[in-house]
Amino acid sequence: MEKKLYTVTVYSENQVGLLNQVTIVFTRRQVNIESLTVSRSAIPGVHKFTITAETDEDTISKIVRQIERRIDILKAFYYTDDEIIFQEVALYKVSTETLLDNNEVEKMVRKYNARILEVTRDYSVIEQSGHTEEIEALYEELKPSGILQFVRSGRVAITKSIEEKVSAFLEEVEARRCGSEEML
């Protein structure tokens, strides 16, 4: 099966120890996690993991179901790049001297829609957000001028659907809760 980069979003209750439960599913199936970001979602109390991994569709669909099987996981989904809007953030530290001496750096910043966050006597920090390739490209272009430090975040992504994809599920579940209470 064809390998691709998949983005997995996992919605969970806010419980300790969930990260471990999510990551071991990838480990057991020998799939490397490329990036991982945890944040709150638009729904109060619901956390969201955004994970990217390169694998085939058969494997990722099984991983998603095995993640969902964990008790405190609400729902998990997987997407290919065309189904989501996504972004990464990178920070580059360069010496202020290169920034001042050479207008190449400034040109690159403009070209890549990056911005300068901080300038001190010794170093300057450039921030860029974009897709992996754009970040890689700026990295390559800045490299000859000297990069002192570099860091890139994991991917964050939202779907093209209007609400959080878990919303419909939560509504269903609430109906079930009412049902279970009527039975009392």
Partner: protein, 564 residues
């Protein structure tokens, strides 16, 4: 206000617990202290090792259908239960496991007997949770029982810090009925149901493969109704052996590595395969690519993550079989499949001629395991539980003990845990006291948990222990003989005098080696009131046939030496 430890006991009472298996220690002393005042409410079974406690709880749960409760201390006790937790996870056995834990302030500091119980048990449990405050205890216990029991059952760990046991709380118990992130009973999809019925109605050679899910879902009658209406022959997995009586006309036997020839062969001849509450274990499918490639496959299971996990299926019905089976039965047509059902018979005859008759009437003087199991099966009562250990003894028990809903066969299926059989039988005897309880173990496996003789001594439990002594780690020896050029690396065993060991525990015991004495020895054991150990010295070089070598297509059935 009451202490957390006292609250724990009240929670158990609310959950209608009657039996607890365990072992005390430092960080669980408060809970055991509370237990002291509840001796007339709960029967507490002090095993001789925590592994014994958890396997006993598994045996209890498997026969009673209720969650088994285990209570042990922290650190080494908690790590001692890991094997049983993993086993229960594989075999979907409901357990609530309470481990003591250090004080909250000591967590993460490598303090005495502190281990990362959550980290260790999370991968092998359905849910694992640390309770740090007494006020969280009722909520956590209610949730633990709910999760262990509902949907596809499984083991749950509650790691309770000492603080939570000694702090005071206002006790109020609310059983758990709902967890927003857990849907234990998914509703069957009606269009999938119609598709499945259409496939079944068009089938000329349908075959059902029945797993433990039918038993866990209490859907045995529903299964019979389904099979009978559409006249569908059925095979069972090792875990599903107790569902259909051997004489049930539609029962075609057991599938899998050491299963019967007919259902294994016909798996690759059927046109529609209906998998009911089973999970396509590799021990059942052999090589996946050549598993029923010709068949349309319908999968009924409660766990969505089992669908397409091992075998790609054509129709999936994700629901409790208790609901999905009757709904499906309503949609299928009455049918007759006489010729198809009759086509199993020649394979059955072939297996009888080439394997079973030789097993039961060996040419050599040494007893075969099959003779022993056949005799035990015929001599034991209408209500009986047979708990097998792991190895050749297990496969022969599965093959020659005639199981049924009244005569349960229990074994460690998914994990294949040696040492499971004897303690699990102790729990089974408590969980179903009406049934005679037999543990069938190998000389290897019994020595992994033989210390539990102390438990049956202390509580005078009427567990009958049969040791099939072949002086070998027989199943490994079999693989070495067949696939590793007879290089018997570390499989011969020098064994103690098992009868003397039993005598030291004051347990009646006998040893038998000769064919002419076998029946009398078994009759005596069956008739004996109270615990009993029977050692049967069997042939050293016995082989379990039929056998489908690991990873081979299921059509590659070996019926005996030279007959591959």
């Amino acid at each position: 206000m009451i202490s957390g430890a006292e609250a724990l006991m009240r929670c158990f009472k609310e959950e209608k617990v009657d039996t607890i298996f365990g072992y005390p220690g430092g960080f669980i002393i408060p809970a055991f202290d509370a237990l002291y005042s509840y001796q007339d409410v709960f029967k507490f079974i002090l095993t001789r090792h925590e592994q014994g406690a958890i396997h006993a709880a598994q045996g209890y749960a498997r026969v009673s259908g209720k969650p088994g409760l285990v209570m042990v201390t922290s650190g080494p006790a908690a790590t001692n239960i890991v094997t049983g937790a993993a086993d229960a996870m594989m075999d979907s056995t409901p357990l609530v496991i309470i481990t003591g834990q250090s004080t909250v302030a000591q967590l993460g500091t490598d303090s005495f007997q502190e281990t990362d119980v959550i980290g260790i048990t999370q991968p092998v449990t359905k849910w694992s949770y640390q309770v740090r405050r007494a006020e969280d205890l009722p909520w956590a216990v209610a949730r633990a029982f709910y999760i262990a029991r509902e949907g596809r059952p499984g083991p749950v760990v509650l790691d309770i810090s000492k603080d939570a046991q000694v702090q005071m709380l206002d006790f109020h118990y609310e059983p758990c009925r709902f967890i927003r992130s857990y849907q234990p009973y998914p509703q069957p999809d009606t269009s999938a149901m119609r598709e499945a019925a259409a496939l079944i109605n068009a089938a000329e050679r349908p075959l059902a493969v029945v797993g433990q899910g039918v038993q866990l879902g209490h859907a045995i009658q529903e299964l019979y109704a389904f099979l009978e209406k559409a006249d569908i022959p059925a095979a069972s997995t090792l875990m599903g052996l107790s569902i259909m009586d051997e004489n049930y006309p539609l029962n075609m036997g057991m599938v899998g590595m050491h299963g019967n020839v007919a259902p294994n062969r016909q798996t690759n001849a059927c046109d529609v395969l209906i998998a009911i509450g089973m999970r396509f274990s590799d021990r059942v499918t052999g090589n996946i690519q050549s598993y029923a490639p010709q068949a349309k496959i319908i999968h009924l299971d409660i766990d969505p993550s089992e669908i397409n996990k091992n075998v790609k299926v054509d129709v999936a019905i994700v629901a409790d079989v208790k609901t999905s089976l009757p709904a499906l039965t309503a949609l299928v047509n009455k049918a007759k499949h006489q010729d198809w059902i009759a086509s199993f018979a020649p394979y059955r005859q072939q297996e009888y001629d080439e394997v079973i008759s030789k097993d039961l009437h060996p040419q050599h003087t040494a007893l075969s395991m099959a003779e022993v199991l056949k005799c035990l099966s015929d001599t034991s009562g209408e209500k009986a539980t047979l708990v097998a250990d792991v190895g050749q003894n297990q496969m022969i028990s599965a093959r020659y003990f005639s199981a049924s809903p009244q005569r349960q066969f229990i074994a460690s299926g998914g994990l294949g845990t040696m040492g499971f059989g004897f303690p699990a039988a102790i729990g089974a005897a408590l969980g179903n006291p009406e049934a005679e309880t037999y543990a069938v173990c190998g000389d290897g496996g019994i020595q992994m948990t033989i210390q539990e003789l102390g438990t049956i001594l202390q509580y005078q439990m009427p567990v009958k222990l049969i040791i099939l002594n072949n002086s070998y780690l027989g199943m490994v020896r079999q693989w070495q003989e067949l696939f590793w050029q007879e290089r018997y690396s570390s499989t011969p065993m020098v064994n103690p005098d098992f009868v003397k060991i039993a005598q030291a525990y004051g347990i009646a015991a006998a040893s038998v080696e000769k064919r002419e004495n076998l029946q009398a020895a078994i009759q005596e054991m069956v008739a004996h009131q109270g615990p009993y150990l029977l050692e049967v010295k069997v042939e050293q070089h016995g082989l379990v046939y039929p056998m489908i070598p690991a990873g081979s297509p299921i059509s590659h059935i070996i019926l005996g030496k030279d007959k591959a």
